[in-house]
Structure formats: structure tokens, C-alpha cells
């Protein structure tokens, strides 16, 4: 043992310095790697969804000269709306097709010809005529959606090198479409049906409007129920309730409920709202109530955290001036806690917007063509629509699934952006 030279503090520090910095670098690299891998997953998701889905915003249209002959349509009383609505538009389309290709005469050839146009195109034609009643008796050039098989062909998803009997499109159809395409009579255009129609069995007639409105109505119910209830519960628990065993149990249960699988809330809704109270199936009202139950814990927890974060000095200042407890809460604590509460509410709403499982249980998974007009109309919601379409075999639904996901993601991003904006807007320093 030599104590002739005991190392000075600076020597010991310098000896360890390299190790300390190496640790720090390692930690930073790990963090960066974590962020980058998350980012890569996000990019991959975006690329696949947009790559699959962007073509759903396009749709093939065929231009036809339609003769709106009053006799063929059997419209003899223009005042009768039913006559306009339920006239035989299909035969109008068929005769227009036959006139365009007079050479095709056999039954088989005609069938081939008719397969060009979407089977639901007669609805579009009916709507066009109802909106432009002066067309009756005239010949008009109109654009009608093509059948989804033709749409797929136009978008280049059909492998023409395959033997004819292994694809859904025959060589004759391909020739027909090619001819119409070169003459400009068949072309791709913006798919407005996707944004204006409800669900359909035909991909080219299917849209997300019904699901969007269903989601909107459901969220209106959810927000108007869950925000007031959650804020009231949070204020009571945080400011008024005594601290004892009962409030402890309540707190544990709220935290627990926030982690309960959402399908359980769906089963609860089915058992209580549908079976016990006899509320209607598949309606946004019940969907909203079920999602309220699901989002309540989230909003309560974030609201309580926001209330807790208000500095005690502000409460003391108000109490010291003789403000009552109510006044302290409503004049001082609540305004300061509101940004946090709103953020929690919007995150809860975003969660509700993306929720599928509980809504399956209360019948919002039904095939619903009509666009809901009220809280008690049968409806479906965006994520359920995605689920339904992803289950459909037609090629057209594959891209529509991705397109619906894009729409859902857009609304989620918009809601989260609103949350950030509200936070910035209402946040006050103290």
C-alpha cells in the first residue's frame, strides 16, 4: 500500500468520464432508434393505405346518349313524383347501348354490352332526370358509372395475359372497352359517388356518406353525454368528495374501467339498452350511449389530472378573499383546468370515432343503404364500414376499404389538431 500518491478528485472524475459519456450516447441512440422505427411503421402504413386507396377516388364513367322518351318511361302525369322515381330507366340505358352498337345483335352480345354499365346506374339516371325535369322528351349525353369489373380493367388491375377463362373479363369485353376508351366515351373521373352514396353491394355504387353521417350522429350523442357527466364527476371527486375507502374504491374502478375491452361495453349496451329498455337496434343514439360509457373513464381521468394541476396558490388566493368553494371552482379552477379537460374529451372522442367492437354488439354492423337522417335511424359508422368492406371479395371494395381508412385517419388527425389548437388557445400562464 502506497499512499505516496492518492489520486485527486479531478483524476477520478476524468477516469470515469469516458464511460459516462458512452452511456449517454448509447441511451440517445436507443431513443432515436425507437423513434425512427415508430416513424418507419407509420410511413409504411401510410404508403400502403394511400397506395391501395387513392384509386378509389377515381371511377370509370361511360358517356351515353339517352333518349328520355316520356312514353318509354311511362310518365303521363308529371305531377306524380312516383312516376319519375320508379320509371324503367334500365331499359333506357339498354336501348342507348344498343343504339351505340347496332352491330351487336345476338343475346350473348347484348348481355356483354349491358355488362358495361353499373347495375345501379338506373338510380343515377333517375336522379338526373328528377333534378332536370325539362330533359323529358329530349336526348341528352350523360355520364354513368361503369360496372366494377370494367372499372378494375380501366385502372389496369386485370392481367390480360391470363387465359380468358381465368379472369372475370372476356376478350370481347376488353375489345369493347378499348374501343370506347380510344373514342373517349369511357374515361376515369372523380368518384363523387364515394362521397354522396350510402353502402351498396356494388362497389361502384358504394359510398361512405352513410357511415360518415352515422359516425357524426353517434359522436354528437357521445360528446353531449360524456363531457358534462365526466366533468361533473371529476369536479365532485376532486373537489368535494371526502377521501375515504369508498372514494378510493371509486377511483380504482374508474381506472379499471378505462382498461376494460370495449366489446364488454357493447355487451352491456346490448343487455341493458336493447334488451331491458327496448331501444331500437343499429341506431346512433344507442351507439352514442355505449361509446359514452366507454369514453367516460378516459375523460374523467384526464379531467381530474387537469384539476389537480391547478396550482393550490390560486385556490388559496380566492378562498382568502372569501370566495365560496363553488366560486373558487367555477371562477378560477375550472377555467385553468379547461384546456386539459378539452384535450381529454377530444382524445376520448377520437377513441370513440375509431371504435368498432361495441357497435357490432348493438347492431350497427347491419348492411344499411339509406343515409341516416336522425338519431334513431339505422346507421353504421366509419370503422364498421371499413370492417364490412374489408370482408367483401370484390376488387373494388379493396381500394374502397383503404379509401375509407384514409377518410377516418383524416378525421382523427383533424380532431387531434383541434385538441392541440384548443390547448394553445385556452392555455393561460400563472
Amino acid at each position: 500500500m502506497s499512499n505516496s500518491h492518492s489520486p485527486s478528485t479531478i483524476e477520478i472524475v476524468n477516469r470515469n468520464l469516458a464511460v459516462r459519456y458512452a452511456r449517454e450516447r448509447r441511451f440517445r441512440r436507443l431513443g432515436l432508434a425507437a423513434v425512427l422505427s415508430g416513424f418507419a411503421a407509420l410511413i409504411f402504413l401510410m404508403v400502403t393505405i394511400v397506395g391501395d386507396g387513392w384509386r378509389a377516388f377515381q371511377q370509370g364513367y361511360i358517356e351515353l346518349e339517352i333518349n328520355f322518351d316520356a312514353e318509354a318511361l311511362e310518365i303521363d302525369d308529371p305531377a306524380d313524383d312516383d312516376q319519375w322515381q320508379y320509371a324503367d330507366y334500365t331499359s333506357l340505358i339498354r336501348s342507348a347501348l344498343r343504339e351505340r352498337f347496332p352491330a351487336l345483335q345476338t343475346r350473348k352480345e347484348k348481355k356483354l354490352l349491358y355488362s358495361l354499365v353499373s347495375p345501379g346506374a338506373d338510380y343515377q339516371l333517375a336522379n338526373m332526370l328528377v333534378e332536370n325535369r325539362e330533359w323529358l322528351g329530349q336526348v341528352q349525353r350523360v355520364r354513368l358509372p361503369v360496372d366494377d369489373d370494367i372499372d378494375v380493367l380501366l385502372k389496369g388491375y386485370v392481367d390480360e395475359t391470363l387465359p380468358e377463362d381465368e379472369r372475370r373479363i372476356s376478350n370481347a369485353q376488353i375489345e369493347l372497352v378499348k374501343g370506347l376508351k380510344s373514342s373517349g366515351e369511357i374515361a376515369l373521373g372523380f368518384n363523387h359517388i364515394f362521397f354522396t352514396a350510402g353502402d351498396s353491394r356494388e362497389p361502384e355504387q358504394a359510398g361512405i356518406r352513410g357511415a360518415l353521417i352515422g359516425s357524426f350522429l353517434t359522436l354528437v350523442v357521445t360528446l353531449s353525454l360524456s363531457f358534462p357527466i365526466a366533468v361533473a364527476a371529476a369536479i365532485y371527486l376532486e373537489e368535494f368528495a371526502p377521501r375515504n375507502r369508498i372514494t378510493d374504491i371509486i377511483e380504482v374502478n374508474i381506472n379499471n374501467l378505462a382498461a376494460v375491452p370495449s366489446i364488454v361495453f357493447g355487451l352491456l349496451g346490448l343487455a341493458v339498452f336493447l334488451n331491458l329498455f327496448g331501444m331500437p337496434r343499429s341506431v346512433p343514439l344507442v351507439g352514442g350511449i355505449v361509446l359514452t360509457l366507454m369514453t367516460l373513464p378516459t375523460i374523467i381521468i384526464s379531467s381530474r389530472a387537469a384539476l389537480k394541476a391547478v396550482p393550490p396558490s390560486i385556490r388559496e388566493a380566492a378562498l382568502g378573499l372569501g370566495a365560496s368553494k363553488m366560486q373558487v371552482i367555477f371562477h378560477h379552477v375550472l377555467p385553468l383546468a379547461l384546456p386539459g379537460m378539452l384535450t381529454g374529451a377530444i382524445i376520448g372522442m377520437a377513441q370513440a370515432l375509431g371504435e368498432t367492437a361495441p357497435l357490432l354488439m348493438i347492431g350497427m354492423v347491419a348492411f344499411i343503404v339509406d343515409i341516416p337522417a336522425g338519431f334513431t335511424d339505422p346507421a353504421t359508422v366509419l370503422p364498421v364500414q371499413i370492417f364490412l368492406w374489408s370482408d367483401s371479395p370484390e376488387r373494388g371494395f379493396v381500394e374502397r376499404t383503404s379509401a375509407a381508412i384514409m377518410v377516418l385517419l383524416f378525421f382523427l388527425i383533424a380532431m387531434n389538431a383541434v385538441a392541440v389548437l384548443l390547448r394553445r388557445r385556452f392555455e393561460r400562464r400563472w
Partner: protein
């Protein structure tokens, strides 16, 4: 600390003014007798009168049998080492301790002969009568005007907006802040400097026209210039209000107060005229404290 206090208010309070615990390095004079207060506790025609006040935080006793009178329009300073219970005692005088769970006050605290701990006493009017200024300036995150107008508004003291404007102006003038803020009354009170914020808090307190103002170390977060301004202000306020001030600064106590009360480990050790306390303390502990032997 073994106190099972969950209330965040309580937590802050305990940090600001900890209850004495065994581990705290407060030296106790071996011969010191704490149970009997040295000096004259009674005054004639007292504004406030405290008798046999004990304060407990849970099982821990923070104040032991304190008897003290506060005279009209006097400034009484409460001094003592950290954790001696002076802030706790001050907060008994407008029942701010009510907000702390587990805090129990026994004995009697009379304001104009009425016991403020009587069951029929409502804390809202009490705190309008006994205002409080806190250690850290705590203006509301509202405009300067709204800060001062808040008290009169909730108590309905102003009959019109003109009335309210007048109350705000006189309060700010009395707090010596009017000339500095009169052009920016609509700006947030939190944007002022620390000293200005504290004077804003004083203006906010006097806007309610309380009878007694409690000040809990009002200058501890301020620089010497801001401190001097607050001390001047206290001097001016004494003609209208009764003031009880807790301070860590013995110089401040000597400068602003008429009487001084010295607290030690939860006991009121000595009380008397400020001049007497600082020049000729009777109790050994008081002498040790003011001569700087501990504290």
C-alpha cells in the same frame, strides 16, 4: 413526516411551514420553560383575542396553548425559527386551516368578541373581514382590474360599474400601485414584476375592506427594493386596518410592527412592545433568537 395528508393544499402548506419534527435541528435551551408566555398578552379593547389555541395536524400538535390579543390598528409581527408554528397560527385567524385535511383547531379565537370557530360562523363573511396576503404573490391569471375587482364582485360590494371602478382605483392607490398600472389595467396581473404582483395581491385584499389583514411572509419572495415598498405600504395601512404579519426578517419586524410575538416549537414564548423585545428580551430563547444564536 408521518402525517397521512393527501390534500395538495396541505402538502404545500407543510412544505412552506413544516410542523416541527424530531429530526429538525432546532436547539432547545435546556432550562427553557415554554409553557408560560413571557410578557403581556392582553390588550384593552382587543380586535382579536385568542385563548388556549391548540392546533393539530393529525396526531401531531403544531401549536400549544397560545393566548394572545391583537389590538385595533396595530401591526403585530410574529417571528420565530422555521417550523415554530407562526404561519399555522396566522392561518387560524381566518380559518384558512380549514382547507387542510386532518387539521384540527381547539380553543377560542374571538373577532370583536365573536368566536370564529363557533358552529354558526360562516367562513365566507369571516374571510371578507379577515383578509390574507400570501408568501408567494398569487395574482389570478386575469387582468389587473379583474384581480382587484374580484373580491368586491363576489361579495356584491359595488352597486354599479362606476362604483367598482372607484373601488379598484382607491385600492390600487392605497397599495401604491395605481401610478404604475393605471394605463394597463386590462393586462394580465401575472405579467407584473414580483413586487408589483405582491402589491396587487394587497390591493386585491384591501378592495374588500377587511378589518384585519393577515400577511404570511409577504416579502420573502421579493428583492430589497420591493420589500421596502411593501413595508412602507404596511406603515400606511395601519391607520385603517389591523395587521398581523409573519416574517422571517427580524429587521422587518423591528421596522414595521408595534408589538412582536416570538414563537418557538409551537409555543408563544414571549410577546411585548417591539422596542422592548428587540432591546430587552425577557426570555432566554427570545434573546438567543434575536441575537442570531439560532434561527
Amino acid at each position: 413526516m408521518s402525517n397521512p395528508i393527501k390534500n395538495p393544499l396541505a402538502a404545500e402548506q407543510l412544505v412552506a411551514d413544516p410542523v416541527p419534527s424530531a429530526g429538525e435541528p432546532i436547539s432547545m435551551h435546556p432550562d427553557a420553560d415554554l409553557s408560560k408566555t413571557v410578557g403581556k398578552i392582553e390588550v384593552k379593547n382587543a380586535k382579536m383575542s385568542m385563548r388556549s389555541v391548540d392546533v393539530f395536524y393529525g396526531d401531531k400538535q403544531a401549536i400549544f396553548d397560545v393566548n394572545l390579543d391583537i389590538a385595533r390598528n396595530e401591526v403585530i409581527a410574529m417571528i420565530g425559527p422555521s417550523g415554530c408554528g407562526k404561519s399555522t397560527f396566522l392561518r387560524c385567524l381566518n380559518r384558512m386551516n380549514d382547507t387542510i385535511e386532518n387539521c384540527k383547531v381547539t380553543g377560542s379565537v374571538l373577532l370583536e368578541g365573536e368566536d370564529i370557530y363557533a358552529t354558526k360562523q360562516d367562513v365566507v363573511p369571516l374571510r371578507a373581514q379577515v383578509g390574507m396576503v400570501f408568501q408567494k404573490p398569487n395574482p389570478f391569471p386575469k387582468s389587473i382590474y379583474d384581480n382587484v375587482a374580484y373580491g368586491p364582485r363576489i361579495h356584491g360590494l359595488a352597486h354599479s360599474n362606476v362604483d367598482l371602478d372607484e373601488i379598484v382605483e382607491t385600492s390600487l392607490q392605497r397599495a401604491g400601485l395605481w401610478s404604475e398600472v393605471k394605463d394597463r389595467l386590462d393586462q394580465p396581473g401575472t405579467g407584473l414584476s414580483g413586487g408589483q404582483q405582491q402589491r396587487l395581491c394587497i390591493a386585491r385584499t384591501i378592495a374588500v375592506s377587511p378589518e384585519v389583514i393577515l400577511m404570511d411572509e409577504p416579502c420573502s419572495a421579493l428583492d430589497p427594493i420591493a420589500t421596502a415598498k411593501i413595508e412602507e405600504l404596511i406603515d400606511e395601512l395601519r391607520s385603517r386596518f389591523t395587521i398581523a404579519i409573519v416574517t422571517h426578517s427580524m429587521q422587518q419586524a423591528a421596522r414595521v410592527s408595534n408589538r412582536t410575538a416570538y414563537f418557538h416549537l409551537g409555543y408563544l414564548v414571549e410577546v411585548g412592545k417591539t422596542d422592548d423585545i428587540f432591546t430587552n428580551p425577557n426570555h432566554k430563547l427570545t434573546e438567543d433568537y434575536i441575537t442570531g444564536r439560532f434561527g
